[in-house]
C-alpha cells in the first residue's frame, strides 16, 4: 500500500534540478534528502526542487525538507522550490519554510533567480 516517490536529477553547470513525482511523506522526504546530500558531496551548492509531479506533501516530509534547507544555509548554498500546487505553497508558508527558501512559479525563472 506504500506509495513511492520517484526522484530524478538534471545537473546543469553547477546547478542541479531535483524533480519529484508522487507523495512526499517520511520516506519521500528521506529520498529527496539522500539525493540532495549526494549532490552536495558532488560540489553542487545551487539546488532547485521542482515539485510539479507532487500533489500531496505531509508535515513529516516538509520537516525533512527543512533539514535540507538548514544544511544548505550551513554551507552557504542556495535552495529554491518551483511549480508548487496552491495548497502545497500555502502549507510551506504555514510551516515557515518559505522564509528560508524562495518559491518560484516556474522552473525558468527559478533557475535564473538562483543563479543570480
Amino acid at each position: 500500500m506504500t506509495e513511492t516517490l520517484n526522484v530524478t536529477v538534471d545537473r546543469r553547470d553547477g546547478l542541479a534540478v531535483i524533480y519529484t513525482e508522487g507523495y512526499i511523506n517520511n520516506q519521500g522526504g528521506e529520498e529527496i534528502a539522500k539525493v540532495a546530500y549526494k549532490l552536495l558531496d558532488e560540489g553542487y551548492k545551487l539546488l532547485l526542487l521542482n515539485l510539479a509531479g507532487t500533489k500531496i506533501v505531509n508535515s513529516i516530509g516538509i520537516s525533512i525538507l527543512i533539514e535540507i534547507i538548514e544544511k544548505m544555509l550551513e554551507i552557504d548554498g542556495k535552495l529554491g522550490f518551483c511549480c508548487l500546487t496552491p495548497t502545497i505553497e500555502k502549507t510551506f508558508h504555514i510551516m515557515g519554510l518559505a522564509q528560508y527558501a524562495p518559491i518560484y512559479s516556474d522552473e525558468a525563472s527559478a533557475v535564473a533567480q538562483i543563479r543570480a
Binding site: M1, T2, I56, N58, S59, I60, K90, T91, M95
Partner: protein
C-alpha cells in the same frame, strides 16, 4: 445557519503506512460531490492527511475512525470531518518545540475554516470543517 447532517460516511482504517491517503481520497470524493472548488478540496485532503498521520504516529491505537458529515439545510453548506482514535491522548501544550506533530496541527488550522482537538487518556478527537 442550520447545521443539519445531510449525509454521513465513516471509515475505520487500520494504523498502517499510507492509510491517510485512503481517508484523503474519500474526503476528496465527498467534497467533490458537494461541488467544492478544487483548491478547497486539496486543502481538505492535506488537513485529513495530517490528522490521520498524527493518529498513526502518536496514538498507539490500532485503528482510526474518520467521519465525514455534509451539513446544511436544504443544500450542502459545510463539510465536517472528525478523526477519532482511542489511543493514549496528548496535550498540545506539552508538544516539544520541534515536534513534527505540532506542525501538523498548525497545518490543519491553516487549511481548514474551523478546527478543535479534544484529547485525554481515552484518545483524541480532531473536529475540523470547511464551508463549501
Amino acid at each position: 445557519m442550520s447545521e443539519d447532517v445531510l449525509r454521513e460516511v465513516t471509515l475505520a482504517l487500520p494504523m498502517v503506512p499510507d492509510m491517510e491517503l485512503e481517508a484523503s481520497k474519500t474526503a476528496a470524493a465527498i467534497a467533490e460531490s458537494i461541488r467544492m472548488s478544487p483548491d478547497r478540496i486539496d486543502e481538505i485532503r492535506h488537513a485529513v492527511i495530517e490528522a490521520c498521520i498524527n493518529a498513526l504516529e502518536y496514538s498507539g491505537a490500532e485503528e482510526v475512525f474518520v467521519t465525514f458529515q455534509v451539513l446544511g439545510d436544504p443544500d450542502p453548506e459545510k463539510l465536517r470531518i472528525m478523526v477519532v482514535d482511542h489511543g493514549i491522548g496528548f496535550s498540545p501544550g506539552d508538544m516539544p518545540k520541534k515536534s513534527k506533530r505540532g506542525h501538523g496541527l498548525k497545518i490543519m488550522r491553516g487549511l481548514m475554516d474551523e478546527m478543535e482537538i479534544h484529547s485525554g487518556p481515552g484518545g483524541t478527537t480532531v473536529v475540523m470543517s470547511k464551508m463549501r
